[in-house]
């Protein structure tokens, strides 16, 4: 009996010991295996490098520079006709009446700020840990890239949600400059437009000072920011601000004094001889900044965000797209001075199903054409315009810059100072050249906005003048409901 009792005691004790030793307390703090917790994202150089690319990745999302931001720049303006009346694909943007809760209004706001916060968190993290991990030199480069992306993002928001810089508008944007990863930070009032532009310029100055002169591959030179990219963006921003002297000062650093116009320092920006070779997956010296795409899910714009999907004709009509927007017969394609026989850029216009379509973007689903964000001819034309406006004369260099762009595609047309009777003729020609050159590249709306021009009527959509409701977008309804300090336009 005694033996038996002991046996049970031993058995029970063994069980208890087993229990005591079996609790695996370390399992209470598991780390994710398919993601990286924020505590560890600055722990190695490789992770920091991957974060740098994520800043561009955030900007490249289909709702932002990878698709819709660019698309809105065209469909809000006058060169396209909406074919599908689909609110999801921006029929309201086209008609000039998106509401506070419209897909376009809500999403562009959200994705731009998501990019901004990603940049802010990165800059904060680099300041506190990251730079010590990668070293001062690389750290400086990376922070400069983050500021470049942040500048791109704020600039994008200003083009749709605020009145132009020259308007003297007070209602700009909530200006967020430090990273947020907890709740309770919703409330922040809108800073004046001028303050936001000032911040953008400050970021670009820092970027220019911190960015590398170039990368080791043409691909990286087109898909990441280097010194000359920051300068090119500055010309765009200064032009939007109407600071033409600054445009000239910046542009002159990447544009030679005489034709052929190229950047003589750092990455040698230059026009390519054949304009049809700068789309698709081109990474030429003309492609200042492009958003690269691949066929892997998540690395392309995604459903209903792709330029080719919006502007391309349907397969039934011989295209690769969904026929969302056809070319407005009364838009820029009606311009007879844009010669239909000799100008290569006319080859981007394609007729199918009785309508005209833009086929700059020809890769089929999943639409892997790179999105051209900045091309060198923009810098040339911005410089030309700034010179014309500041000198208030038919300046020969301005004409030469304009001619460089026209002549490249249409050898039969050569502009000389004699081609223009007034300065206004020249500036109009420069604007028209931009309209032709960047058709389907998202610049049209911004050009109309910065000069406070009326958006002309197109199809059934009414014209929108600077004072009209719908000239700029309302503020996102979600922002207004959750940020009590933010007010609507």
């Amino acid at each position: 009996m005694k033996m038996r009792k002991n046996k049970y005691i031993l058995l029970s004790l063994a069980t208890v010991l087993l229990i005591a030793s079996s609790c695996k307390r370390q399992l209470l703090n598991p780390l994710p295996q398919t993601s990286v917790a924020d505590l560890n994202v600055f722990s190695s150089a490789a992770r920091i490098q991957a974060q740098v690319l994520s800043l561009y990745g955030a900007m490249k999302i289909g709702n932002f520079y990878g698709g819709r931001y660019v698309i809105y720049g065209d469909i809000k303006a006058d060169n396209f006709i909406n074919e599908t009346s689909n609110l999801v694909t921006g029929s309201d943007v086209w008609a000039g009446n998106p509401t506070n809760s419209a897909t376009a209004v809500v999403n562009l706001w959200q994705y731009a700020y998501l990019t901004i916060n990603t940049c802010n968190l990165f800059i904060d993290g680099m300041d506190s840990i990251g730079t010590s991990v990668v070293g001062a030199s690389l750290g400086k480069n990376y922070i400069a890239e983050a500021k470049f992306v942040r500048a791109m993002s704020y600039y994008a928001l200003l083009q749709y949600y605020t009145l132009p810089y020259g308007n003297g508008a007070q209602k700009g944007l909530p200006l967020r400059l430090s990273g947020i990863k907890v709740s309770g930070q919703s409330n922040l009032a809108r800073s004046p437009v001028t303050d936001v532009y000032t911040q953008i310029i400050a970021d670009l100055n820092d970027a220019e000072a911190g960015l590398p002169a170039s990368y080791s591959s043409a691909y990286n030179n087109t898909t990441r920011a280097h010194v000359n990219t920051a300068i090119a963006l500055k010309t765009r921003v200064f032009l939007s601000m109407g600071r033409y002297d600054s445009v000239i000062a910046a542009a002159n650093r990447i544009v030679s004094t005489a034709a052929p116009f190229t950047a003589t320092q750092n990455v040698a920006f230059a026009l390519q001889t054949d304009v049809t070779k700068v789309y698709g997956t081109a990474t030429t010296t003309e492609n200042v900044l492009s958003m690269p795409m691949t066929s892997t899910t998540g690395d392309n714009p995604g459903t209903q965000n792709q330029l080719g999907y919006y502007f391309g004709a349907t397969s039934k009509n011989g295209g690769v797209g969904n026929g969302e927007y056809s070319l407005n017969a009364k838009g820029v394609i009606a311009d007879s001075s844009w010669k239909s026989q000799t100008d290569k850029r006319r080859s981007f216009i394609f007729t199918g199903g009785g309508k005209k379509w833009l086929n700059k973007y020809t890769a089929p689903s999943p639409y892997t054409d790179y999105v051209p964000v900045i091309r060198y001819p923009e810098v040339l034309l911005s410089l030309a315009e700034a010179i014309a406006r500041t000198t208030n004369s038919i300046d020969t260099r301005a004409v030469a810059l304009l001619n460089a762009v026209r002549n490249r595609s249409d050898a039969s047309t050569t502009f000389t100072p004699a081609s223009f009777t007034t300065v206004t003729d020249l500036t109009n020609a420069i604007l028209e050249e931009r309209n032709i050159e960047f058709l389907g590249e998202g610049l049209r709306n911004n050009d109309l906005m910065r000069l406070q021009l009326t958006i002309p009527t197109k199809g059934s959509a009414p014209a929108k003048g600077p004072g009209d409701v719908g000239y700029i977008w309302p503020i996102s309804a979600v922002e207004l409901s959750l940020n009590t300090l933010c007010t609507d336009n």
């Binding site: 005691i9 058995l11 029970s12 208890v16 229990i19 005591a20 609790c23 399992l27 209470l28 703090n29 598991p30 780390l31 994710p32 295996q33 398919t34 993601s35 990286v36 917790a37 924020d38 994202v41 992770r47 991957a50 974060q51 690319l53 994520s54 561009y56 990745g57 955030a58 490249k60 999302i61 809760s101 959200q110 700020y113 998501l114 990019t115 901004i116 916060n117 990603t118 909530p174 967020r176 947020i180 990863k181 709740s183 309770g184 930070q185 919703s186 409330n187 691909y219 898909t223 690269p292 691949t294 892997t296 899910t297 998540g298 690395d299 999943p366 979600v478 922002e479 959750l482 933010c486």
Partner: protein
Amino acid sequence: MRKHLCFLLWLCLAVCQLHAQTKSATGTVTDEKGTPLPAVTITALTSDRKVISTTVTDINGVFKLSLSENAKTLQFTYIGLEEQFLPIGGRSSFAITMKTGSKNLSEVVVVGYGSQRKSEVTGSVASVKGAAIAETPVQSFEASLAGRSSGVQITVPSGIVNEPPVFRVRGTNSISLSSYPLVIIDGVPSFTGDYTSGNASANPLSSVNPNDIESIDIAKDAAATAIYGSRASNGVVFITTKKGKAGRAKVTYDGWAGWNKAYGIPKMLNADQYIQFKTMAVANNPSLTGASAISFKYAKNADSSNVNTNWADYVYRTGFSHSHNVNVSGGNDATTYYLSTGYTTQEGLVRKNDFKRINILANIDTRLNKAISLGGKASYSNEQNLSAGSSGSLNGEAYNTGALTRLTQVLPSILAPYNPNGSYNINGSAAGSSNITGISSLSYPNPIPIIDLSRSNNEVNHIQSNVYLQVKPLSWITLKTLYGIDYLLIDNDVFLNPVNGDGYTPNGTATATSNKNKTWLWTNTAQFDYTFGEKHNFSLLVGNEQQRRTSATWGIQRQGVSDPNYNVIQAGFTVNNPANNSKGENYLLSNFGRLNYNFDKKYFLAGTLRRDEYSALGQKAGIFYGASAGWEIAQENFWKSVKLDHVFSSFRIRGSYGKVGNINGIGDFSPYNQYYSGLYGGAATLSYALGTVGNSNLKWETSKQTDIGINFGVLNDRITGQVAYYNNNVDGLILYVNQAPSAGLPTVYYAGPPLNVGSMYNRGLELNLNATPVQNKDFTWNTGFNLTINNNKVTGLADGLPSIQTATSSLETVNLTKPGYALGYLWVIRTAGVDAGTGKRIFVNSAGQKVYYQYYAPSGQFNYSTTPDGLTKYVSPSGGTTITQAADAVMYRNPLPKYVGGWSNTFNYKGFTLDVLLTYQAGFYVYYGTNSGLHDQRFWNNATDILTDAWTDKGQTGKKYARPVFNDNVSNGSAMPMDMNIFKGDFIKLRTISLSYNLPSAIVQRVKLSSARVYVSGQNLGIISGYPGPDPEVASNGNTTSGQGVDRNTTPNARTITVGLNVGF
């Protein structure tokens, strides 16, 4: 806690002493029919009820027990039979007949880590016998729990097979997390919900063959559930599967075959009506002239007759189902076993929507000696859930253009299903519509190629197994260790055909994903049952438990078939992408204890404590508790002195209070801000924008529950009843709180960071009555009625979060959650009928002003006008010129049933048994969103009532639908949800009616059987409801807590007839 447990165990063992033995008792135990009863426990007790020795009867019902001098009483116990106490006196030989006890005394209920006599339970527990649900043609057992117990709401969401029902115990207790109760199968928590990724749903609980269930016990209040601490706030459901019974091996076969059919399918316009009606609608829209003109022609069949397609004929069918189960049960006094196997194929009412299951369950329990017993179970189930594609019924599917149910209503009856040459009538990705001029593509596919060529299947392999070792070093000490696993392994196999529908543009899409969910669980408990001085009965349980779950999913999506005949994932495709990759893990570490005390079975006290630590939380540890008390007044002398015992055989007051939690559905890595990997032009990125926002302070949702009740028995328990009041206050509800978008937090997976901010309550009253109104030699009638009255109210959300919208399939929002209202309140725009003079829809704006709407506004008129003539432009109080949901919708009706219950009746007459179960829900409203589609004035087909109920002529009053104007999708509710499509959901259903006949034993024995029974039964044969749709028992948003009461393109429910046979060998 662990230290204490260890010490206690040691202490118990150390004080162990054996008693001297001097004499013995022998005897036999039989049941009321005189059959010897094996495995009856006989315990010798001292005068103060201390245990001296114990034994069990052998296979012949014979026992022999050593007794000491101080042995005074023998106790005989057997589950299901009435316990007996016999004074020993001078006797040494005994013959005992055990009786079927009156229910309250003998029944036991499972209470978590053990069982208790029902008569001693002070918490609120409902029990359902396995037999009640065994033979019903359902895929998983809980679908047949409706109406069987108070406090339990079961809503079958649609007629799609194996979709988990909406299952609520005492109301909905969460917003963002799951409100499904915790389901414990033989001691191991099961998976609940749907883990598949295609269009065929799979309920993990369908792996349990209903025929293998012995009992279902549903713990409802904190006293009963607190032993499961952090997971208990939605109630706990204990499933106990059958075990072997000692005796000769008994083999039982049970089989049934059944037919089901949809009921309440809307009647659609035929070809003649369609052309006539739509032509009139086109004429009413002057913008459709000239180049925009739309016209309809008859399509022709091969025999040149007019095409008149009833699309429902091509989508629905009469489903045939059958099921077969064989089990073997037996054993001797030391070892019992149970082996069961089942096969079932159940066809749903939508073509190609099938459920097939093969399952096997084996268990064995053996007693090595007086002190040690061990055993285990192994169960394996293979289920195939098949479907051609989306039906439109599962959560998130309502607006799928390829949804089969929806296509039966949208596609015009003038379209031919096939071309005269036998090929599919298609046009690109859409159905062919060459006989409609003016609309280039209908954008909805032909359902036939989807049914023929596509599939969205999954195969589930589910393994649930456990082993245990139990040691009783002393008769009053039970030590038990149990290790269990639950492996839910799912393969999803989806193919969208390249011919028509969603697979057309990518030229075929195949997706295969493998999803593995694994649980292991190790439980160790020590139980001490001790009686002092005859009347002080103590039972103490202490335990420790660890549960770990891991999940891993990987998959691939391939597009563009390389050969038109390819339809499997392994074939050639041109585009390859990863799909649905994820990996998760969590760990729950717990210590718990429970103390039950009663004095003389008159006064009862119980307390439970559990400490849980959970890996997915920021604040890992939490303490949960429940305390309860009961008073059996019928045992009191004063009660007897006023002769109340002549009326009440029992009368007990009980009450409980406790705090429990909910963690079901919290992401495994919620405490962290996570950066996810992405790509930038093929290069790796580490992105916060693609990531999640965490909360390092995240903790459980907590539910504080009060329960007060009375249990009584009248006329020697011929009538028994329970009445209970409960009050569950839930706070710390986890909400994913939206932050201003300008804060720039990622919202890829959640709307915002998870915060413990919300609060709500469920308060209610439960009533259960069971009675045997008639009982005589040939005829008995047993009846049970139950009612639950529940009142749900949300009392708080987060700061800066005035309300939460819950969209149906991310398109239409009808449910709004707002403090002061029930969860997911129906939120719609008010209307005031149709204007008699013009046939315009009259909206009522936020200020109560009437606004007249016309889809087509002639020059000089407005779409929205404050006058019927359309000449006065409507300007809203906030300056808008249209009616919008954001501005004008009101909190309109409650979608949560206030009254839920059932009424069951069993009539026995000689060998015949008639079971009738009625279930009901009342006091709620349903948004019949399908109705807006049925009256949409685009090319969509309409229900036939449009012919009589739409305004056509001046002066018509009381019309439901506006003047038909082609393309008008606003007036009848498609564009904005409105009140005219909300209806009372109250219903009474004849859920089950079943007639069975036990063949007389004389006949049965002649064919060498021990029993034989045949039955015929019907499900859902009748419904009484004012609801105009197919069935008010519906849930387009599935188990979504805040999205109930929506009926959007849902497949109707099935009406089923089965015939069955049950034979014992």
